[in-house]
Amino acid sequence: MIPRLEIHVPEKMDEVLEILDSSKANCRIIGGGTDIVPGFHIESPRFAGFNKLVDINRIEELHEIRENDENIIIGAGATFSQIISDSIIAHKVPLLQKAAHGIGSKQIRNKATIAGNFVNNAPCADSVPALLVYDASLRIQCADSARVIKLEEFLEGPYETNLQPNEIVTQILIPNNSIGLAGDFYKLGRRRAVAVSRITLGLLYKIADNKFDEIRIASGAVTPIGQRFYEIENFAKGNEVSDELLRTIAIKAGKKVLDLTGLRWSTPHKLPVLQKALYNLLVKNCLK
C-alpha cells in the first residue's frame, strides 16, 4: 500500500533544501521512484516513517553533465537514459555508460537516477563498482553548508549511507586523473533485461612496458556493498602482465570476497564464477 503523502515538486534547489531542512526525517527525496514505489508495496521499513516526498526531477542543475579543469561533474538527478546518451560520459567515463546500459529496462532507465541507485545502496547497485574504480566523490548539500565525500566513505553498509535527513547529493565528481584509463564493466544477471545483478565487476587499468602502471578493481552484488580491492591492486601494480598474474589476481579476489561474506549457501557456485569472470575480464582486456 502506498501511504498518504504530501508531495512537493519544487523547481529550485533552494526550495528542496528548505523542505529538507524543515521536515528532516519526515521527508524523503524521490527521483525516479523505481525503488521507493515498489518499497511501499512490500512495506519495507526503509520506506516507512515519513509523510512527505520531495520530487527533484524539475531541478535543472541536478540533470547537468559537464566538465571543468578537475572533474567530470554529473548531476545527481541524471537518469540512466541521459547517462547512456551523453557524449562526455561516452568518451570519458565509458564504464559508467556500460553499467547504465545494463540497468533495468528502457522504462526504468528513463526514470531511475544515478544518485538514487547508490543512495539506496543495495548490494547490487550497478553504478557503484563503475563509480568506485573512477574514484568518484559526491557533493552533498544542506540548507547552510556543503561537503564533498568519497563515494566509498559515503557507502556505509547494505542500504546504509552517510547521508543525513536534511541533506541531498547534488553532484557526482569523477576526477580527471581517472579519465583515459582503459577498462571494462561486467555484469551477470539471470537474464539480460530487468534482472538484479548477481555479479558485477569494474576494471580500470594502464599498462606500460607490459607492467601494470595502474589497476583498479571493484565488485558489486557479491560483497555486502560494492567495494574496491585495494590490497590486490597494490599487489598487482608494477608486476609484469602475465596469464599467471591475472589468475592470481582472480584467486585473491575470490578469497577476499569469502573473507568479507563468510560461507553462504551460494558460495560453492558463486565464488568460482566470480573468479572465472574476473579472470576472463582481465585476460580479455589486459593480455594482448
Binding site: 502506498i2 508531495i7 523505481t34 508495496h41 520530487d55 529496462s105
Partner: protein
C-alpha cells in the same frame, strides 16, 4: 493529501482533485476510465502499464500523480486519430503480434516512444525498447516484426 492536478492526457488538458500519492496507473484507470493501460506486476518489471510521458516510455505503476502536474501523457487510447488506428496498432494486428492481448497496450506504447524518437529503427533498437515489456504468449518474434514494419 488531496490536491488539484492539471495534466495533458492524450492531447486534452484535464484537471482532477485527487489524493496525490495515488499511482498514475490508478488515476488513468479509475478517474479517467482509460483502462487500456494494464497492471501486471506493480513493481516496474512487466511493462503492462507503460505510457509515454513527455516523450519517454515510463511505467505508470511507478509514478505518483502528485509528480505529474503539467506533464504530457499519451496512453494507448491516444494513438487512434479520427477513428483510425495508429500504424503500429494495425501492424500488431496484421502480424499476429497479439494473442491474449494483456501485454499489448504497454508493448505498443514502448514501440510508440521508440518510433517517435527514431523512425528508422534497427532490430536491436526495437529489442532494447521492449526489453521491459513481458509477453507470455507470442514469443516476441511477431511483435518485433510488427514494430519493424
Amino acid at each position: 493529501m488531496l490536491r488539484d492536478i492539471s495534466l495533458n492526457i492524450n492531447g486534452k488538458i484535464k484537471t482532477i482533485r485527487v489524493e496525490e500519492s495515488k499511482r498514475l496507473l490508478d488515476v488513468l484507470r479509475e478517474d479517467f476510465a482509460l483502462t487500456g493501460t494494464k497492471e501486471g506486476c506493480a513493481i516496474g518489471e512487466c511493462g503492462a502499464c507503460t505510457v509515454v510521458i513527455n516523450s519517454d516510455a515510463v511505467n505508470s505503476c511507478l509514478v505518483l500523480i502528485g509528480q505529474c502536474e503539467g506533464v504530457e501523457i499519451i496512453t494507448i487510447e491516444g494513438l487512434e486519430q479520427n477513428g483510425e488506428l495508429h500504424e503500429l496498432q494495425k501492424q500488431f494486428m496484421e502480424k499476429g503480434a497479439i494473442q491474449c492481448g494483456f501485454c499489448t497496450p504497454g508493448m505498443v506504447m514502448s514501440a510508440y516512444a521508440l518510433v517517435q524518437s527514431n523512425p528508422d529503427t534497427t532490430i536491436e533498437e526495437i529489442k532494447e525498447a521492449i526489453e521491459g515489456n513481458l509477453c507470455r504468449c507470442t514469443g516476441y518474434t511477431q511483435i518485433v516484426d510488427a514494430i519493424a514494419h
